[in-house]
Symmetry: C2
Subunit: 224 residues, 2 copies
DNA sequence: ATTCAGTCTGAATAGTTGTTCACTTCTTCA
DNA sequence: TGAAGAAGTGAACAACTATTCAGACTGAAT
């Protein structure tokens, strides 16, 4: 008598798995990575602690998968925004703005994914996350360079630096604390975008134009 | 019969305290903050674990003091470099270069001080460290703005962003791994300095000049 | 209806480190 | 020199959580 998983069971298993991941994501969004502990996550997902281990071999694996998932969502949002732009410079501006807006609207989560202390080793998935997003930015910078809009440069290093600048300025410990005000939030997004564009060599005047252009479609997200 | 500490004893106590701090610093420089554990630090300092607690109330306090100390050294180096520069723009370039060089020559330590996960709460001293250094940078940017060399801007946010860019690009997980080669190292320092100066609005051509100028006195440190 | 593989449970376990404290050793002072 | 207070010691303790596992439960197959 061979036991075979019925379709219904397969679905339930998949649902549970994603419920656990989802609970982990909620916990991280609410309280940072520190809040992603097995017991609380299990409670949120309506399962016992032991059950978590039937779906994920370890906490490290659970968090890694969480990081991967969030990072993939982020990457596709960046791509979507960039591809909707009319030219390479606009695309770069759109990519930067998207990162800024997303990071700001999920500060705790972003901090958790990127840099918050965790007691297990998740360096590999964090590295992958950074590499993906920095890589996308590097591609956009490169396109603008090839189009003759920017001076030649080490695009990889530049992309990494931009990422660091965005994160530190917007969710690092020195980030302004009054970003709940939508106006201030939009200003912050514009300021860092301007900074980022100038950093890779966009002329000040032109950069200002690109920033305004890129912020316009993002207004809804920013809530202003 | 009142027991009074003799001069010799006072000196020995002070020496021990600094030996412990020094051992912690060595450990951090060698293996990051993760290596700063009470037992190993005590061994390095030639005392028993319990003795550490006669000098520091907790591990958090020990690490906080370590952060403060390193940060103070860093800040004075930045000031020295900036004050030796001929004008506000040069001073800014010198400050940025100094940070880059220092961070690179003590990568593990810098990462530990700034961002590495630690199991105790050291947010306060990390915050102070960032605030001091970012504040110094902000002052330099402000001076250049007042001198008419840069466009008006939110100098605090700009300084924070620059700090983030430098750290992420030079000691973050995506930092180039071949920085042991002095030539590559110098190139990286120049690249990020150029990026930083352009970010705050220095014209590309002028920025290149400032970078070369600022890197020259730092050559010895870079080892090239 | 009955069997049994698969799944779930949650109390118990285990490993890691910061911290304590009863005791020893050292230093001061009469 | 000896009494008393300070400083040092390190083995034992404590707290925190990830992980395990023996038994309970579910539902597929006959």
């Amino acid at each position: 008598m061979v036991y075979r998983r019925t379709h219904q069971v397969v679905k339930r298993l998949a649902a549970r798995r994603s419920a656990i991941l989802s609970a982990a994501r909620d916990a991280a969004a609410a309280g940072g990575m520190a809040a992603v502990q097995i017991a609380p996550v299990a409670v949120r997902a309506n399962v016992a602690a032991g059950t978590v281990y039937r779906y994920f071999p370890s906490k490290a694996e659970l968090i890694s998968e969480l990081i991967t998932e969030v990072s993939r969502d982020e990457l596709s949002a960046i791509r979507r925004a960039a591809e909707a732009a009319p030219g390479p410079s606009s695309a770069l501006a759109a990519a930067v703005t998207t990162i800024a807006v997303h990071v700001l609207s999920q500060r705790k989560l972003a901090w958790g994914i990127l840099a918050e202390p965790v007691d297990v080793d998740v360096t590999a998935s964090r590295l992958a996350s950074r590499r993906d997003i920095s890589g996308e930015l590097a591609m956009r910078i490169d396109a603008a360079v090839r189009a003759g809009h920017l001076p030649a440069q080490d695009t990889g290093l530049a992309a990494t630096a931009l990422l660091g600048a965005l994160h530190e300025a917007l969710v690092g410990p020195l980030a302004p604390s009054n970003l709940d005000d939508p106006i201030k939030l939009r200003d912050a997004v514009q300021t860092v975008t301007l900074l980022a564009l100038r950093a890779v060599g966009v002329m000040d005047a032109r950069a200002r134009g690109l920033v305004v252009q890129a912020t316009t479609p993002a207004k809804a997200l920013v809530g202003a």
